[in-house]
């Protein structure tokens, strides 16, 4: 299928925000490698982090091979902060473990639903990877749900820590669904059914799980989505992360390891 220049920009915008989310969250989650709460969880969470990096690579590859963008390494390591389209949720430092778990829970469900929707995308390369990611993200969801339910109800301390983690992350998570300027085009072109539709599916999915975990969402009137990330306006935490992530690349762009 051939697209006009404007249509290509529409698709690129969608791919960049997804790929950047995966890359930055993958990097953040990988910061737990070696210092996870215990060995089996360390392995599981590191593996989830690796999956995210792999998913970002697949999306950058589409941008490179189908839409004429630079190669994945350059896209991942050499763009400026302003050019990144990730949401604020993925940028925050890892915090205490409950923060990272809650972030991963909120993100994984949005991720699973997003790729489920994209499996029917009219943009075939995207539909193909969306189907490929399904199994990986299904495990991320199982992993998160298990911990959220267990720790939400284990004892007073675990419950209150999970509740504050939810309070801290929820507005950030709403930022996942920041509408782009191309929502209508994406829907018309049948590439993606839109952030608003994803958000309502997501709320429907997470509410019963949070309820089972005895965790409470704030009133909808108090929700303040953390927007800006999709337009290149980021939290103070992204730039230092990009500096660290691109360090080797900036010294030697052709380095192999």
């Amino acid at each position: 299928m051939s697209y006009t220049g404007q249509q290509k920009n529409t698709i690129k915008d969608l791919l960049f925000k997804m790929a950047d989310d995966q890359l930055i969250l993958g990097h953040r989650n990988s910061e737990w490698t070696g210092i996870g709460p215990f060995i089996e969880e360390d392995i599981a969470f590191s593996s989830i982090a690796q999956d995210k990096i792999g998913q970002s690579l697949a999306l950058y590859n589409i941008l490179h091979e189908q839409l004429g963008e630079a190669d994945p390494d350059t896209l991942g390591f050499a763009r400026s902060e302003k050019e990144f389209k990730c949401c604020h949720l993925v940028e925050y430092p890892i915090g205490e473990y409950e923060f990272s778990l809650m972030r991963n829970f909120l993100f994984a469900h949005a991720d699973y639903l997003r790729f489920e929707m994209l499996a029917d995308s009219s943009f075939e390369p995207l539909a193909k990877v969306a189907k490929k990611f399904r199994g990986e993200i299904k495990y991320h969801v199982m992993h998160s749900d298990n911990w959220i339910k267990k720790l939400g109800t284990a004892n007073d301390e675990s419950h209150s820590r999970m509740q504050s983690a939810l309070n801290e992350t929820f507005n950030l998570a709403l930022g996942i669904f920041e509408p782009s300027e191309f929502e209508n085009e994406l829907i018309e072109m049948k590439i993606f059914a839109g952030e608003e539709s994803l958000k309502s599916k997501w709320l429907e999915t997470i509410k019963p799980i949070l309820e089972e975990a005895s965790l409470k969402l704030s009133d909808e009137k108090d929700w303040k989505p953390s927007f800006g990330g999709r337009k290149g306006s980021h939290t103070e935490y992204l730039q230092p992360l990009l500096n660290e992530m691109g360090e080797v690349f900036r010294i030697d762009a052709k380095a192999e390891w």
Binding site: G34, I35, I39, E41, A44, K150
Partner: protein, 139 residues
């Protein structure tokens, strides 16, 4: 704690002496993990995980033992539910070397089976398949 790894420094771990050792009952259950490569194959023991409950044990088993090999299914079983023999009784497994007649390899019976099949006009399907394969490969 000061480390060469910036991630370690960022989490601001307390100094080592502040860590309290675990009480015995704070430790989790050990689960034995069994891995099945394909449906219908036997589950083979591959190792252990520590977990607070069954679901979590499966969740860990998947990443620790299912991620780098083809996997159809995993089992986890609480280690304390396994009934072992006693190492003191290991000698029960020692057999006298002269008793080869007890082992299947010591029986030679195929020639007698073939003779019986020929006499009674019984077609050996395995043999037939083998011959068909041979024919096919010659073509």
């Amino acid at each position: 704690m000061n480390s060469f790894d910036p991630r370690i420094n960022r989490v601001k771990l307390p100094a080592l002496e502040e860590f309290k050792p675990l009480e015995p009952l704070q430790e989790w259950e050990t689960y034995e993990v069994f891995h099945q490569k394909k449906r219908g194959d036997q589950h083979i023991h591959v190792g252990i995980v520590h977990a607070p409950d069954n679901d979590t044990a499966l969740m860990f088993a998947k990443e620790s033992f299912g991620r780098r090999r083809q996997t159809a299914n995993l089992w986890v079983v609480k280690s304390r539910d396994v009934v072992p023999t006693d190492y003191d009784d290991q000698d029960i497994f020692e057999t006298t070397p002269e008793k080869t007649y007890r082992e299947a390899s010591d029986y030679y019976c195929m020639d007698r089976i073939r003779k019986y099949q020929q006499e009674h006009g019984i077609v050996d399907r395995k043999e037939l398949r083998r011959k068909e394969k041979e024919k096919a490969s010659k073509k």
